[in-house]
C-alpha cells in the first residue's frame, strides 16, 4: 500500500518538466538567464529525485505497477489510457534520462550563456530550456508509457524536440538554412520510421485487440503460433521505426546533420537518450522478437552493419562533433545488434554506459568548441571552431576538459576497467557464443572505434596548435566542467552496474524482461576486445602524432586512397538518397502538381466549359439572321415530327 502511494508519484516525472517549461514560458524572459536555467535544471533534477524514489520503492516491489491517470481514446473495443508503467526497465530509463538530463541542464546554463552570445540572440536563452524541459517530458512519456500508443506520443514528442533543438539556430548553418534543413531532415527521417511503428501498432491492435504491454505480450506466443507472418511483419515494421529513431541503416542519415543543434542537445538527445529509444522499444518488445528468429537476425545484422559502417565514416571526419555523431550511430548499432541477439540486458547496459561516456564526450567537445571560440579573434570568420584540423595541443589550455575527454574516449574505446569495456564486452561475448559472423563485424567496429578516438584525441589535444584560435583557447567555467567531471566519474564506474559475476542490472531487469541467461564472461573475448582497443588507440596515436604539414592533410588519405575518399564523403549516402529518393520525389511531386493537377485535372472542368462554349459557338452559326434559315429549320423540325409520326 505504501509503495502503491509511492508509485503514484510517477506522473510527476512528466509533470515536473512540464511545470518547469510552463514557468519558463511565462516568466523566463522576465527573470533572466539564471532563473530560466535554474528552474529547468530543478525541474529535471526533481524528476530525477522522483525516479530515484521510484527505484527505491521498486526494490521492494520489483514486479512493478501500472498507474492509470485518465482515459484517452475510447471507441468501441478500443480503449487507450494515459497510464504509466513503473517497472525495472522503465525506471532504469527514467533514471538515465533524468540523471544525465539534469547534468546536461546544468552544463547548459553555462554553455548556452556563451552560445546565445556567440550566435547573437540572447533572447533565445529561455527558449532553449523550454525545449529541453519539453524534451525531458516527452522522453519520460516514452519510457514510462504503459501502452504502445502513449509511448508513441513520447516517441514523436522527442522527435519534435529534436527538430526544434536541431533547428535552434534556425537562421544559421550552410546558406543560412543548413540548420533548419537538418532539423527537417531529422523529423522526416524519423517520420519514415514512425510510419513503420504505426503500421506495427495497427497490426498489433488488429491481432491483439489492445495496445497495453501486458495484454499484448501475454498473447504473443499464441498469436505467433497462429499467424507467424503477422508477427514477422510487426517486428520488422517496428524495426523500421527503430532505424529511424535510433539512427540505424538505412535511416541514420539525419543524425550526423543533427549536430547542427547546440552541443548539449547533441549530448542529451542525439547521444544519451532519444536515440536509444529504439533500443528501449525493442527491449520492451523483446517478447515479440524472441518469438521471431528471422526478425532477430535481421535486427542483429542491421545493428552490426550499422556499427561497422558508421565507424568507417567516423574515421575520416574532421568535425569534432561529426566524429562523435558517427560514433553514436556505430554504438547504437552495437546495442541494436545486442537486442537482436537476444542479449537485451547487454543492450541496456551498453545504453546506460554509452549515455555516460558519449554524453561526456559531447559535452566535453562542446567545452572544446567554446574554448576555441573564445580563442578566436574578434571578426575571425576563417576558423571553424568545430574543425579538428584547426585544433591541436589544446590539452595545455583546457586541462580539465582534456582529462574528462580522455576518460570518455577510453571508455568508448573499451579500455578496461572503464564503463565501456564491460558493456561492449558483454555484447561481444554474446556474439562470440552464438553469432561468429556478428562477432567479427562488431570486433572490427570496436577496433575502428578505438582508432578514431585515438585520432581525435591526438588531433584535438596533442601536438601543436594549428590555428590562432586553438592557441588562444581557454578553459570553461565550473558550471560547465562540473557536469563533465561527474559524467567522467560515471564513465569510469559505470561498469559496476553489471559486473561479470554480479550481474546487478541483469537481476534488476529480469523482473521485467524475464530471466535472461547472462552471457558468460569469456576471458578470450575480453582479451581480444582489449587488445583491439589498445591497438586502435595506439595506431591512431602513431599515425596522427607525427608532424603534419599545414594545412592539415590526413595521413590516411595517401595510404588508403579512394577508400578514404569514400569514408570522408560518408560513402556518398546523402548524395545517393538525394538521387534515388529526394530528387525523384520532388520531380514526381512536381509532375503531379503541374502536368497532372494543373494540366489535366484542373482542365477537366475548364475543358467541359470550353467544350460547351465551342458547342455554343457552333450552334450559334445556325442563328445567321436569315429568315430562310429559320424557316428551313422549322421545316426540318416539322418533317422530323411527321416522319416520326408516320413511322410509329
Amino acid at each position: 500500500m505504501e509503495s502503491g502511494l509511492t508509485f503514484n508519484l510517477v506522473p510527476w516525472v512528466v509533470f515536473l518538466p512540464l511545470i518547469g517549461l510552463s514557468i519558463n514560458l511565462l516568466f523566463g524572459r522576465k527573470f533572466g538567464e539564471s532563473f530560466s536555467g535554474t528552474v529547468a535544471s530543478l525541474a529535471t533534477g526533481l524528476a530525477f529525485v522522483v525516479s530515484v524514489i521510484l527505484a527505491v520503492a521498486l526494490a521492494n516491489h520489483p514486479e512493478g505497477v501500472t498507474v492509470p491517470l485518465a482515459d484517452w481514446i475510447t471507441i468501441g473495443s478500443l480503449t487507450v489510457r494515459w497510464a504509466f508503467r513503473v517497472d525495472t526497465l522503465s525506471v532504469v530509463m527514467m533514471l538515465v534520462v533524468s540523471g544525465v538530463g539534469t547534468l546536461i541542464h546544468i552544463y547548459s546554463i553555462g554553455y548556452m550563456h556563451n552560445d546565445v552570445r556567440h550566435n547573437g540572440d540572447e533572447g533565445r536563452y529561455t527558449r532553449f530550456f523550454v525545449f529541453l524541459n519539453l524534451f525531458i517530458a516527452a522522453m519520460m512519456i516514452l519510457v514510462s508509457a504503459d501502452n504502445f500508443l502513449m509511448m508513441f506520443v513520447g516517441w514523436e514528442g522527442v522527435g519534435l524536440c529534436s527538430y526544434l533543438l536541431i533547428g535552434f539556430w534556425f537562421e544559421k548553418g550552410k546558406n543560412g538554412t543548413g540548420n533548419s534543413e537538418a532539423a527537417k531532415k531529422a523529423f522526416i527521417a524519423n517520420r519514415i520510421g514512425d510510419f513503420g511503428l504505426l503500421i506495427a501498432m495497427f497490426l498489433i491492435f488488429v491481432n491483439f485487440g489492445s495496445f497495453e504491454f501486458d495484454a499484448v505480450f501475454s498473447q504473443a506466443a499464441a498469436i505467433t503460433a497462429d499467424k507467424p507472418g503477422v508477427m514477422l511483419a510487426i517486428t520488422l515494421f517496428m524495426l523500421l521505426g527503430v532505424t529511424g529513431k535510433s539512427a540505424q541503416l538505412p535511416l541514420y542519415v539525419w543524425l550526423p546533420d543533427a549536430m547542427a543543434g547546440p552541443t548539449p542537445v547533441s549530448a542529451l538527445i542525439h547521444a544519451a537518450t532519444m536515440v536509444t529509444a529504439g533500443v528501449y522499444l525493442m527491449t520492451r518488445s523483446a517478447a515479440f522478437y524472441m518469438l521471431v528468429p528471422n526478425a532477430q537476425s535481421v535486427v542483429m545484422w542491421v545493428g552490426a552493419a550499422t556499427a561497422l559502417f558508421a565507424a568507417t565514416i567516423a574515421v575520416a571526419q574532421y568535425d569534432i562533433k561529426k566524429v562523435l555523431a558517427y560514433s553514436t550511430i556505430s554504438q547504437l548499432g552495437f546495442m541494436v545488434a545486442a537486442v537482436g541477439m537476444g542479449a537485451t540486458v547487454a543492450g541496456m547496459f551498453h545504453l546506460i554506459t554509452h549515455a555516460f561516456f558519449k554524453g561526456l564526450l559531447f559535452l566535453a567537445a562542446g567545452s572544446v568548441i567554446q574554448g576555441v571560440e573564445r580563442g578566436m579573434h574578434h571578426g575571425d570568420h576563417g576558423t571553424d571552431p568545430q574543425d579538428m584540423r584547426q585544433m591541436g595541443g589544446i590539452r595545455k589550455q583546457m586541462p580539465v576538459t582534456f582529462w574528462v575527454y580522455l576518460i570518455g574516449a577510453l571508455a568508448l574505446s573499451g579500455i578496461a576497467p572503464l564503463a565501456g569495456f564491460f558493456s561492449k564486452d558483454e555484447i561481444l561475448a554474446a556474439a562470440w557464443t552464438s553469432q561468429p559472423g556478428i562477432f567479427i563485424v562488431l570486433a572490427l567496429a570496436a577496433f575502428m572505434t578505438a582508432f578514431y578516438m585515438g585520432r581525435q584525441l591526438v588531433m584535438v589535444f596533442f601536438g601543436d596548435a594549428r590555428s590562432e584560435a586553438a592557441k588562444g583557447a581557454t578553459e570553461s567555467k565550473l558550471v560547465v566542467t562540473l557536469p563533465l567531471m561527474i559524467l567522467a566519474g560515471l564513465s569510469v564506474l559505470g561498469g559496476l552496474l553489471n559486473l561479470p559475476g554480479l550481474h546487478t542490472l541483469e537481476h534488476w531487469l529480469e523482473h521485467t524482461l524475464g530471466k535472461v541467461e547472462p552471457a558468460h564472461f569469456v576471458w578470450l573475448v575480453a582479451g581480444i576486445s582489449l587488445v583491439l582497443a589498445l591497438l586502435g588507440l595506439g595506431l591512431g596515436w602513431m599515425i596522427y602524432s607525427r608532424k603534419n604539414e599545414k594545412p592539415f592533410v590526413d595521413p590516411l588519405k595517401k595510404a588508403l586512397g579512394p577508400l578514404f575518399t569514400g569514408m570522408e564523403n560518408k560513402w556518398w549516402v546523402d548524395e545517393l538518397y538525394a538521387a534515388v529518393i529526394l530528387n525523384p520525389y520532388k520531380a514526381f511531386a512536381h509532375f503531379m502538381a503541374e502536368p497532372v493537377d494543373l494540366g489535366v485535372i484542373d482542365r477537366i472542368g475548364g475543358g467541359l466549359a470550353a467544350g460547351t462554349r465551342a458547342m455554343a459557338e457552333g450552334l450559334r452559326k445556325l442563328e445567321n439572321g436569315y429568315i430562310r434559315t429559320y424557316g428551313l429549320l422549322m421545316l426540318l423540325g416539322l418533317t422530323a415530327i411527321l416522319t416520326w409520326l408516320f413511322l410509329h
Binding site: 466549359a609 460547351t612 462554349r613 458547342m615 455554343a616 450552334l619 445556325l622 422549322m634 410509329h648
Partner: protein, 481 residues
Amino acid sequence: MTLNDFYSILPAVILIFSALVLLLADLWLSKHTKVVTPMLAVLGLIASIAASILFTGNVENGFGGFILVDGFSRFLVPLFAVTGIFAIGMAYDYLTRMGIQRGEYYSLLLFSVSGMMLMASAGDLVIIFLSLELLSIPLYILSGFAAPKAHSEESALKYFLLGTFASGFFLFGAAFLFGAAATTNLNGIVEAVTSGSANSTFLIIGSGLLLAGFSFKVAAVPFHGWTPDVYHGAPAPVSAFMSVGAKAAGFAVLIRVFSLIFPSLAEQYTPIFWGLAALTMLVGNVVAIAQINLKRMLAYSSIAHAGYILMAFVPFGDAAIRANSVASALFYLAGYALGSLGAWAVVIGMEKEDNQGTEINDLAGLGKRSPLMAAAMTVFMLSFTGIPLTLGFWGKFYLFRTAIEGGFISLAVIGLLTSLVSAFYYLRVVVKMYFQEGDSKFHWNFWTAAVAVFSALVIVVLSFIPGSLFDLAVKALLTGS
C-alpha cells in the same frame, strides 16, 4: 347568347373595349396628359382580372364549347393581365426616352392580351386561330414600334414573316384535323379520336402541323430561330411582354390541345416531346453562353425555359401524372414570368437612347451604382438558375419531380445538367454587376424599378410559402382531362 357566354369572354371583352377607348382617348389627350393612356390601360387590365375572378366562377363554357372556362384558364387569364400591367409599367419611361411614346402601344398591348386570354380558354380550332392572330398581329406591329430604327423594323419583319409561316402550318394542320374528325371543336375531335372514327393519317398530319405551329409560339427548338433576333430588335418592353405573354399563350394552347388529343396518341407523341424538350433545353442554354448582349441572352434563356416547361409535358400520357404535369408547367411558367419580366425591366433601365447599354459588359459596376436593381437582377438570375429561396427553384423542383415521376429520369438529368450550364451565363451577369468595376447606369424610373423590385420580392417571398401557389397550379385542371 346567354349571360354565361358573355361572362366566359368578359375579361377579353373588357380589354378589347378598353383598347378601343384608348385609341379614341389618345386622340384627345395633349402631350402633357399622355400619362393617362397607360393608366387607363392598367385600369382595363385590372378590370379584366376582376372580371375573371368575379364572373367566371361557375361558368364552364361559353358559346357551346367554343370557349372553355376552367381552372387552367382561371390561372392563366390573370397571369396574362399581370404581364400586361408589368409590360405597361416598364414601358412608359422607356417609350418616352426612346421618343416613341404613342398611345397605340397600350391599345395594341391590350389587344394582344385579350388574344392571349382567349387562347387560354379556346375550345375550338377557330377560336384558337382567331386568338392566335389576335395576339400575334399586334405583336408584329409592336415589334416594329421603334421604326424607323432598323433593328426594330427588321425584327418586326422577321417576326411577321415567320409568324405567318407558322400560322400557315397551324392552319394546314387545323384543316386536316377537321378532315380527320369532321369537327373543329376540340372536345368533338377528342371524341372522334377516342371512338376511333377519326382518319388516322389526317390526324397525324394535322396534329403534327399543329404542334409545329405551337412550337413556334413557345420558341421550342428548332422552331426558335426568330426568338433571339426579334427579342433583340424589338423595343425592350415588347420583348419582355413577348417573352412571357406570347410564350405562356403558346403553352396554354399547346397544353390544352394536346392534353385533349394527346392521351390517345401518347405512344407516338411522348418521344417527340421528349426530343423537343431535350433539344430546346440544350440549344437554349448552350447558345446562351455565347451571347454578349443581354437581350439575346434573355432570349436564349427564354428558349431554354420553354424546354423545361415542355419537359413537364412529356409524361402527360400517364393519367396518374397528368395533374402534376399541367400544374408543374403552370407553376414553372409563373416563376419564369416573374423572373423574365423583372430581368427585362432591368434591361429596360439599362438601355440608352441610342439602343446601347444592353451588353452584359454594360452591367459592370451596377452593384455599386444601383444596388437595388443589381440585387433584384441577382434574384432573377438565381431564380432562373434554380437556386433555393427563389421561386425558380421550386419551379424546377416540381418540374423535375414530374419528369422523374413519369419515369423520365434521363430527361430530368439533361434538364439538371443544362441548368448547370445555365448557371454559367446567369452567374456572369452577377459577376459583371458586383465583381467588376464599371460606370453602368440604370435610368431610374419608379415604375420600371417597381416592376423589378416587386418581381424580385414576390420571387423570394413566395419561395418561403410556395404552398398556396402550388395549390393554385394543381387546381388548374383542364376540363376533360
